[in-house]
């Protein structure tokens, strides 16, 4: 289950999303506590999604490729998504390699090679969909390698930093 804050233009909604088991493309969603069923065609190719059904209401829309706006029924809305889970997310791998928990853009790097870091210390900041995620060290150690530069985009699970 996935907890998000979704801002449409000036209004923010608290949203929870969970996939329906066994029914491809169907999601159970709560918007400010209101339960909704969402059907998405081609859930396997998210960038291609251009229509959905919410409960029994079909909508056609166009998402901007950077997900910063969406067009619906002749109007363009600014959108912003903040993920209440991945903020300060822990690295995926237990070992010293810190991988990207979500695809995004390297905003800042707070460490240097050979620098000592404490467990939980912020190593770098990963920006995804206008949201900054502080990526922290899983354990204390020394920064052995930094694979990325500020401004660089990274894919899911791409190795960022290695701590020994």
């Amino acid at each position: 289950m996935n907890k998000l804050s979704v801002t449409i233009d000036d209004k923010t909604f608290e949203v929870e999303v969970s996939a329906q088991q066994g029914t491809a493309g169907e999601f159970s969603v709560y918007v400010d506590g209101e339960p909704l069923m969402v059907y998405v065609p081609d859930a396997d190719t998210p960038e291609a999604v251009d229509w959905m059904i919410v409960d029994n209401r079909p909508y056609e829309m166009v998402f901007a490729t950077d997900m910063r706006s969406v067009q619906l029924e002749g109007l363009r809305h600014n959108i912003q998504v903040r993920d209440r889970e991945t903020r300060g997310v822990r690295p995926i791998s237990g070992d010293g390699r810190i991988k990207a928990p979500i695809p995004g853009l390297i905003a800042r790097i707070n460490v240097e090679p050979e620098q000592k870091v404490e467990a939980g210390q912020t190593v770098l900041v990963l920006e995804a969909m206008k949201m900054e995620n502080e990526i922290r060290a899983a354990k204390a150690g020394v920064v052995r390698q930094i694979h990325v530069k500020p401004g660089q985009t990274v894919v899911l699970h791409e190795a960022l930093v290695e701590i020994e």
Binding site: N2, V31, E47, V49, M61, M67, L75, P103, L105, A128
Partner: protein, 494 residues
């Protein structure tokens, strides 16, 4: 009848002409520049030749060379480019190739807007107050005096260009000299002719044109009038027929007047006689468009006449084969000019590769376009992507149908002005047919959504879309998506 026609144009009008040629059993030759090579008109033509010279579709020499090389017996210029170019029409005749349009002489007499107005004025018809300006540097006092005769507000125009490009509106005398200088530079640049004139502005007004057909045997008919008072940057955004601003008696008078004026010029082929209607209901002749127009399909819808077919038949010397009595104008038709431009970004052109393209369908809905999924919309040319035309029994039904069609029309990959059209179609005054040339000036593009349920549903959809994208780990670099997405619209999975 012709065996093979070369279409010296691009975009939706080239496609439009190919369709009629094919139905007439006439082979077609399409021309294209590198930027246009993937356009629909290239795919649909029987033969296609690339243009290399810098003038592109306006390259008279190259077009004639291709025409000779491929042995075509006629050239259809469409609109713009080589249409209304008397010299080109003359060279076609010399090369033994039929130019689908009026004779060079007629084109010349109509292309000079001042002379055309002189002729019409002498014949006793109302024209706007105007004053021709002599070539070369002008004495300020003289200029001011000519302007006084015309009166303010006035518009400085190119004698060759007529309404539209190169025109400068002047409200007060102090701006006059500068406006004339700029207009002269622009006219020289656009039309290669800095011949100018001043014309009194008639505002508020209605723009109406009468569509006419005239053959070489003295037969001339009209297909009713169209109103195109909804302009942005001198472009007609929406045109309809009949004109909602006219009473039936006015219509009758307008039609007669248009035919009489066309006769003054011994007009042949198809054309549109244009008028301004002032608030008192007077018709002021402005010009004759000696070519097919972007909005011709509106008249085709209400008259059931294929204007391009008649154009070609007339050019081939055939008789119209129908009198005015055979033409029954029925129903109401409307056209929206769908441009690839961004309504949220000051209507800047929005080039790109079309990734989704769903044309509206159903009874009496027609779309003329050169686009398709996978087609590149070039930046270089006019942003016109498609003409959406609908027809119905009444204007109300027509407006309803257009709203429905706009809702169905779906373009992804480039931004279009469809949202603007949708909002205009829902404007109370427009829906009531109560608008004039001031409408677009006062129109405000709405951007706020007031439906709370929709926003709640939208929040749910955005959340799902975000969750999906996060789950599928992919780089989100916009550039890579914009190119990648489209290109990959045809890529195999590795």
């Amino acid at each position: 009848m012709f065996k093979k026609i070369l279409i010296a144009n691009r975009g939706e009008i080239a496609v439009r002409i190919i369709r009629t040629c094919r139905e007439m059993g006439i082979a077609t030759v399409a021309l294209y520049t590198v930027a246009d090579r993937d356009s629909l008109h290239v795919r649909l033509a029987d033969e296609a030749m690339q243009l290399h010279s810098a003038e592109r579709y306006g390259a008279a020499d190259e077009v004639l060379a291709v025409a000779r090389q491929l042995g075509v017996d006629a050239i259809h210029p469409g609109y713009g480019f080589l249409a209304e170019e008397a010299d080109f029409a003359e060279r076609c005749a010399q090369a033994g190739i039929t130019f689908v349009g009026p004779s060079p002489a007629v084109i010349r007499s109509l292309r000079n807007k001042v002379e055309a107005m002189d002729v019409v004025k002498r014949a006793g018809y109302r024209v706007p107050l105007y004053a021709e300006l002599p070539e070369g540097e002008l004495d300020e006092a003289y200029l001011a005096q000519r302007a006084e005769e015309v009166g303010y507000p006035l518009v400085v125009k190119s004698a060759r260009g007529g309404r539209g490009r190169g025109a400068r509106v002047v409200i007060t005398p102090e701006r006059l000299a500068e406006a004339v200088a700029t207009a002269r530079r622009e006219a020289e640049m656009i039309y290669g002719d800095d011949h100018l004139y001043l014309e009194r502005v008639i505002a508020p007004s209605h723009y109406v044109v009468v569509q006419i057909l005239a053959d070489a045997h003295g037969n001339m008919v009209h297909l009713g009038e169209r109103e195109g008072s909804l302009l942005r940057h001198n472009q007609k955004l929406i045109e309809e027929s009949p004109a909602p601003s006219l009473q039936d008696e006015q219509r009758q008078a307008l039609w007669r007047m248009a035919l009489d004026i066309a006769h003054l010029f011994h007009y042949q082929n198809t054309g549109a006689v244009e008028f301004l209607v002032d608030s008192a209901g007077n018709f002021h002749f402005t010009e004759v468009k000696a070519r097919i127009q972007i909005e011709h399909a509106v008249s085709e819808m209400v008259s059931d006449v294929d204007i391009v077919r008649e154009q070609i038949r007339i050019a081939a010397g055939e008789a119209l084969g129908r009198s005015q009595a055979d033409i029954h104008l029925s129903g109401w038709a409307m056209q929206c000019r769908v441009n690839a431009e961004d309504a949220w970004n000051d209507y800047l052109p929005s080039p790109g590769l079309i990734s989704r393209f769903r044309l509206p369908q159903g009874p009496d809905v027609r779309v003329d376009t050169y686009g398709y999924v996978g087609c590149e919309i070039p930046l270089r040319f006019d942003p016109l992507l498609a003409n959406l035309i609908v027809k119905a029994d009444t204007r109300d039904a027509c407006v309803q149908r257009m709203r429905r069609a706009l809702q169905e029309f779906r373009v992804v990959g480039v931004q279009t002005n469809l949202p603007l059209h949708m909002q205009i179609l829902h404007d109370e005054k427009f829906a009531a047919g109560d608008y004039d040339t001031r409408f677009m000036t006062n129109f405000r593009f709405e951007t706020k959504c007031r439906d709370e349920e929709v926003r709640q549903d939208l929040a749910a959809m955005v959340a799902v879309a975000y969750t999906l994208r996060r789950r599928i780990g992919k780089s989100q670099t916009p550039e890579r998506i914009q190119t990648g997405w489209h290109r990959s619209a045809r890529r195999l999975p590795v």
